[in-house]
Amino acid sequence: MSGTHKNGADVAVSPPNAVASADPQKGLVVLAGNPNVGKSAIFTRLSGTYAEVSNFPGTTVDAMRGIWNDRPMLDAPGTYGLGEHSEEERITTGLVKDAAVIVNVVDAAHLDRDLFLTLQLAESGVPMVIALNLVDEARKAGVEPDAAELEQALGVPVIPTVAVKGEGIDELAQAIGRARPGTWQLNGADDMARRRAADDLYARVVRRERKRRRIADWLERASVTLHWGLPMLALSLAGIYFLVGVLVAQNLVEFTETRLGQELWEPFARSIIDATGIGGPIREILVGEFGLFTMTVTYIVFLLAPLVAAFYFSLALLEDSGFLPRIATLVDRGLSAIGLNGRAVIPIILGFGCVTMGTITTRLLSTKREKTIATAVLNFAIPCSAQLAVIAALLAGFGGAWVFAYAAIIIAMLIAIGTTLDRALPGESPPLLIELPPLRWPRPNAVLKKTLTKGRWFMQEATPWFAAGALIVSVLQVTGGLDLWQRFLRPLMVNWLYLPAEAARTIVMGLVRRDFGAAGLYDMGLTPAQALVALIVITLFVPCVASIMVMAKEHGARTAFRIWVGTWVVAFAVGGVLARLLTWIGVA
């Protein structure tokens, strides 16, 4: 966030009506609310800017900017209260102070929790309106709040909405002009008094008990027990593997890559270039072995795109169903062994989509210690979707045992790195404390939109780097540099890793992005044991350029450099030991 919101410390305790003179007809509109109440959906509806909508807390780490009616509009990070206790709280508290109007988005089906923040906002004296969102869910559960009663109690407009369906949005937009400071005042500034007041207010506006929902209620309880939750987790992971690793990586990509890419597109591209009469090294760079119009296009369009889309589709289902925080609960014990708590499963799972994105999401961890451990684990040992896709496609051909061996080694490395850092870093990691959102059916439209948005983002990020990598390798090839590099790395490749000398090429590509390294192994005719060694090396090898940049930004250039150098050492050390081990047990 920019520096303008840094000194919002006193908002929560500022005298009522302090900023009441601000004109609600113009100036900054800030959306504030608890995590996971549909703020992003309302923001998207009002401003027309897509903000990510998920069913887990903390999707919006930065404030999203948009324009509504020629006025600036910001979607603040979700918080349960104002104050100085976390990054999100600081940002939101600062934004509230700067706002001309606050739109307080609340979850009508879980209003007791949300009213705590609502009271704090009302105390701030900034003109506000309340969007009583998810009112359809509340109605279904038999706990629809009495909007008129709430309006009267707080003295601000209250508009029922169903943001994902667009209901109540026009009414909400009109109500922004009628925003007023809350008439609420707290006698005594402590949290406990505010909590009691919120509970009393809740009893006034929701007078009925929630209806039982047989299946959903059972699922919400069962999914956080070991005997039901673990099988559910295993089943969903198996489902993802079947979709990404089998259906798409083997069946679909086999068709798109070979038939469409290598047999249709590449000859076509070559014939076009040949018709223009371009020859020599330029032709090689454009349509040669690593050509910009041949290998680059085939890889990006016909191999990577379907795999990445399938992966983000699976992730969207996990996110939108509300299962992710439950996974965090199930794995908390396991992650505590490497100095993290269950919450860290969120950046780690996102890291399987894109390590760069996972690294950014480590922000939702509360201490520097946890952020460092999670970042290291992500950048050493977590393969991103692109890489995973190539790995799945390569190893699946050799049978399940090789896939299992690969997974076991990577998990062992993850544990080794995490445990080492947990021992080495001073201090202790905080305990898990996470709200578990209700389980919901993912909405097909939302899942589709998220898949497309994230997929496109990833492809935009990856394509230039891949093209650059391919260009470097092509230039090295036509200038003879590639042979030189291969001769230079030959001892390492052949004598240490027992790989063919050409595998050195993949290392050049891997320097730019690890998955390109993996892609280069495709047509090398490796034995299963060689493929396993090569993939382990390339997985543990240097993170992609984008990840390094993010790491340098979040943790400083020194940490980023250390991790970069560390990956070289770890990748080749583990690879060499593995190659010997495989020979020794006689499978190589």
């Binding site: 349960y80 949290d191 956080v224 609960t329 708590n341 305990p431 898990l432 404390l433 209700p438």
Partner: protein
């Protein structure tokens, strides 16, 4: 005693939360000192899941020991 020792499926009243960060967060979430909550799940050596008014929170085992309930 700590809420980690309350049997799954039973209700209890939170008497004290002996961790200031957790007390603040749980108060915001509506699991404050004085609240009646149901213990929904205890993962062996892992988190305890509490439920109130149909909302759930998971708290790590160490923290659960410091969430005190009256023993009866």
């Amino acid at each position: 005693m700590g809420i980690d020792r309350v049997p799954v499926g039973s209700w209890t009243r939170i008497e004290a939360i002996e961790d200031s960060t957790a007390r603040r967060e749980l108060t915001r979430l509506g699991f404050e000192e004085g609240a009646d909550v149901e213990v929904v799940s205890r993962i062996p050596f892992g988190p305890v899941v509490l439920q109130r008014r149909h909302r759930q929170v998971a708290i790590g085992r160490e923290l659960a020991r410091r969430v005190r309930v009256s023993s009866q």
